[in-house]
Symmetry: C2
Subunit: 296 residues, 2 copies
Amino acid sequence: MKLSAMGEDAVVAALTRALPCGRNVRIGAGDDCAVIGGLRDTWWRLLKTDAVVEGVHFFRDEKPERVGWKALCRAISDIAAMGGSPEHALITLAVHPKTKLAWMRGLYAGLRKAARRFGVSIVGGETSRSPGPAFISVALTGRVERTRCVTRSCGRVGDAIYVTGRLGGSLSGKHLDFIPRLAEARWLVEHLKVRAMMDVSDGLAADLPRLARASKCSYTLDKKRIPLTRGCTTEQALADGEDFELLFAIAPRDCAKLETAWKKKFPKLPLSRIGALIRNSSSVILHSKHGHDHFA
Amino acid sequence: MKLSAMGEDAVVAALTRALPCGRNVRIGAGDDCAVIGGLRDTWWRLLKTDAVVEGVHFFRDEKPERVGWKALCRAISDIAAMGGSPEHALITLAVHPKTKLAWMRGLYAGLRKAARRFGVSIVGGETSRSPGPAFISVALTGRVERTRCVTRSCGRVGDAIYVTGRLGGSLSGKHLDFIPRLAEARWLVEHLKVRAMMDVSDGLAADLPRLARASKCSYTLDKKRIPLTRGCTTEQALADGEDFELLFAIAPRDCAKLETAWKKKFPKLPLSRIGALIRNSSSVILHSKHGHDHFA
């Protein structure tokens, strides 16, 4: 069977069954990051890899600075989604031998800019030849207090679902210069009990069901409350992907506190209550195009 | 300027200048692994990424199990070269949507086999689309006692240079099913003061000068002592690359002890004293084809 006929989630599920896993692996494949640490450790380690591929995530005529920014910020967004702080990055490049050094320098300028802004050390990597498209893979480590680590899987029936920022239309430029919601995620885990969280990378229509499924819940989604990027339709907000906003669940009793404190702390960034987790059932409110599937 | 006109070492040097680096980064870009840890920590963390690219490091008609084995074992070899033990791996794949699931399953079977054999936990990764060749990037963490961590850069004038195994002819098959010298490297750092070490991935002719340069030395190389793979010439042993043997430097006073103990512990694996580190000078004994350069 070909991957394109299976869809990304089924491919990943088929491959990640029965992987060798040691005893301090708290979370392996399936969440935004892997989580490593002892049950009593103060700090847990986060591990993430992510890749951008020429012709898929960017095109050659794009400014290389923006490609470098995107490559690192995608991984930072995943560290943020666990409630953590990024630490050390390694960059693996495969590029065609005819690539110009100026392009590589631009790429690294973007990587460095993102690293400085978000407190990341770039500690190495590997450079190789590609027979065709450029590949940029980022491995990023991070850390999070054990008591503040947030997964996708601890949402509960009745939890309110929030999303930050505005969704949709990422391809018009945002996918290359988005700001990972690191400060916002850290503030959330420091001030509230966030039950489940992830970043919206494949579109709300793909990612909200993932969060609900990981929490063994279904969900409601109030389409009218989805925060739209100016000029975007609801369908685009659901399906475009690469928003890199935070999607999270908290107990209903915390909603008022959250909304008041958020407005004070982040007055410029919208926070929208878009739905809720409900008892696991086959009925799902959302009827829409699906989000981004890498193999579709 | 194009990369092919510069050569790999110059490209890497140009890109890795002035990277943002935090205070606990003991070694950043330029050694086999990055090393993270406090000056008094018992354990230091090792970080490594490495990629294999279709059409460069393997071909599509190759058994995917062997490709998976190679992808993970390359990174394990780098952890070994620091004297460390591997811990957690993340796998980043970019493959064409027409790739068959059976190929991916085979790849993962090879990854799992290597992970089990060398005590690695595979804790996640990312799967993406590639417009063309398959790209497999492995991020691997490891750990090493601070007192046993070996870099490339602490070799001293007079040190003897050794290499394990036999060199050359890797493309006839060894590059896909080599055994990373993890047990041997751990034994070395546990029983001797290894001054400098690396793995031979780009060929002795490329890697020995790197080790010497990092240690601010020149070197002598006794070509007649280079251990040849059966059927290989000295030129092949120098230039083929992908041997994944250990290349290391120890004080001359430790040579007798090393050679006696090695024969007892690893009777089947040759250990060859091939040269020495000498005072930094422009004269280098070796006159030969250069080893593998990714952009040449």
